[in-house]
Structures are given as C-alpha cells and as structure tokens.
Symmetry: C2
Subunit: 224 residues, 2 copies
Amino acid sequence: MARGEVTPRTTVKRVAERGSHDPALIDAVIDEALICHLGFIDGGTPFVVPTIHGRRGDTVYFHGSPASRALRRSTGAEVCLTITILDGLVLARSAFHHSMNYRSVMVLGRAREVTDAEEKLQALRAIVEHVCPGRWEAARRPNLREFSKTLVVALSLEEASVKVRSGPPVDEDEDHDLDVWAGVLPLEIEAGTAVPDELMNPGLAAPAHVRWRRPTERLGSTTD
Amino acid sequence: MARGEVTPRTTVKRVAERGSHDPALIDAVIDEALICHLGFIDGGTPFVVPTIHGRRGDTVYFHGSPASRALRRSTGAEVCLTITILDGLVLARSAFHHSMNYRSVMVLGRAREVTDAEEKLQALRAIVEHVCPGRWEAARRPNLREFSKTLVVALSLEEASVKVRSGPPVDEDEDHDLDVWAGVLPLEIEAGTAVPDELMNPGLAAPAHVRWRRPTERLGSTTD
C-alpha cells in the first residue's frame, strides 16, 4: 500500500472535511510534535503512554527499555500512535460550539522491533535529532552495552491520517448578535532558557541547539 | 475501592520511584492539562484520540457527538485516559541518558454514559470551565437540542496513577568530565493574544478569562 491511500480504518469519519491523508502534512505534524501517545492492548485492556519519537522517511520510531511493557506489548502487535499539536482554544458565543484548534495524526499498524544494527543506530539518531537537532553530534554515542539495552520499535506510516481544525469559532447565525466575546486563544509550546546541570563545568556555554524558543524553530537544522 | 489504592493494573512498573497514586497530584495534573488522550478498542485494534476533559471531584468527563466512534466504543467499555504535561527536555552528556521531564496521569476503568440531566449539565460546565474558567458564565448555555446532541462520558478516578520525571540529567560517572553541555530545556505552553472573531462587534473587549499566558494561570478562578 502506498502512503496517502485511504483504508477503512483511516477514513476520517467525524467532521470528515477536517481529515486528510496528505503525507507532507502528516510528516510535518510528526516532526513538529515533541511527544506522541502510543496505544496498545494488554490483557484486553487498552493502554496509552506518552513517548518521544523520531521519523525517517515513511517510518516512525520510538524506543525504551527492553523491560518496558508498552514496547513489549507493541512489538508484533497492532498499535495506534497519535501525535497531537494543540494550536488554540476556540471560544464560541455558545457553550455548545466551543472547540479547539489542533493538528492530530493517527498512525495504525503492526509495530516491529528493529533488529538490524544499522537501522537501529539510524533510528536512535533520528529520535535524538527529532527532539533536539544537533544533539547527536554533540552527545556521546551509545556504546555496545547501551545499544543492546535499548529496544527500538518501528511503525510504518502507510496507514496514517491527520485531522485539522483551524480558524475562528462557528456559531449559530442567531447567536451572532449576542453580547459575548468570541474568538481564538492561540497556544504554543515555548522553550525557556536552558538550565545547565550543576555538575557541569560552568565555563561550558549553552550550544546553539538548545537556544530555540518554539518547536518549529528547532527543525530544519538536522544533518540528515 | 478508595482513591489512592493501588491495583495490579496501576502499579507503576518501569522506574517505579517515579510513580505515585497521590490523588492531589493526580488532580493537579488533570486540571492543568488542556487536553488528554483517550484509548479505546474497536474491532480488536487500539485507538487513541485527543479530547478535552473536565473534572468534578473523583470523576473525569469528556464529551462529543453521539456519532463519535471514540465515545460510542468507550461507553460501557474499558478505556485508558492519559493526560501528559511535558515540562522539559533532559539533555544528558550521553545520547543514552537523554530523557524528558513530564507529569503523566493514566486513568483506567469502565467509562459510562452520563444520562442524568443534572450530572450531564454539571459535567458540561466542568469541561467548559476546565478549558477556560469563567467561560460558562459568559457563553450562551446549551439549549435542549444541543444538550441532547451531546454525549457525555464519565470515568472514575478510582484507578489512576501518575508518573513524574523532574530535575537534571543523570549521567554515568565517567561521562561527567566530557566536554558536552548538559542540562534541561524547560518547556511550557504559552497562550498568545486572543484573536477576536471578525464577525463580532469590534467594540467588545477581550474578557479577563482569555488574558492568561500560562495554563496554570487560568486555574483557581472557577466559580465551582
């Protein structure tokens, strides 16, 4: 199946005009978001855990300890990875039409453990570079012990959809004359000033790759 | 079961010292977070969708259209509601010890549809007031048509846990002499200046309840 194809599972059902399967839009949301939420089933119960991720082409990667239940239950199983960016609160004149502006990607598929050493190394690099581009070059690379103590899981972006809401509130016509302020309160993630580790040589200045203010500012500077 | 009791499902397994079942901490995370992620099962597949929520005492509520698959599949079924606040990126000297500072609540349980009219109205109020305290008083209340077109779902906080990571990176002793900047990049959600709806009377000033900058600033001003 090629990316961008729609499956019954990824058909956006509610408010369908907000849905898309555009790979460029999906990739942009995945790359901008700092974390995602992984859904898996354990003993018939759904579980949702936050995790960081990275993308290489049409594959999204996440990682953790080989003892992680989330990773053990995800490997070889159907999972759902949801990546949401909250862009604003939509304040309508009526309580009923309150909403939020957001971009949310949902990826469905069977997760697989990454066992190939080269793919695993590139996946770890993608995860570190996703969170903080430039960091892979700066930090000490994993040694063999650390490498083997890390479980990396891959999920294909073949079956993915994105839902977007943007713009002003949509009120009932008869509510437009109400004396109620209506509009959008924009929301963004902001990075503060980097806090140096107290155990570090204080002469070491904060590098450029920790001096961004918005998640979008950190993008585009990877060496990939 | 009383809140704060631990069940096999809510025992925090990985990095157990980060886990807690303290109701006050759990409530604080739920109240500060603007959105959550709801996990449910449909046809054997896990799904995760973002949604807004509200809390009243020991119950968390979410809502949507009666046609929403997420709500239909959640009602009467085991679900997982995960609420995550990302507090910072933890940049260690080694790639392996990179992490994030976060607070994440996981609520497990059987979701129920709220059918009692008074509880439903109070739940809708809690959801609106959760996102933007003061808004319930300002906005037009739901009429009977809107009320019946909204499905409200409740989840008890009986079975909930919270996992927290905070503080500086934890590196291997032998890495402390490396010439690598290490520390934490703090992250926060910031609200911008409210954007008025173009269809609104321009003389209507933005009310105080849309003039907060940080999600924590909006709290404590509810009339509940």
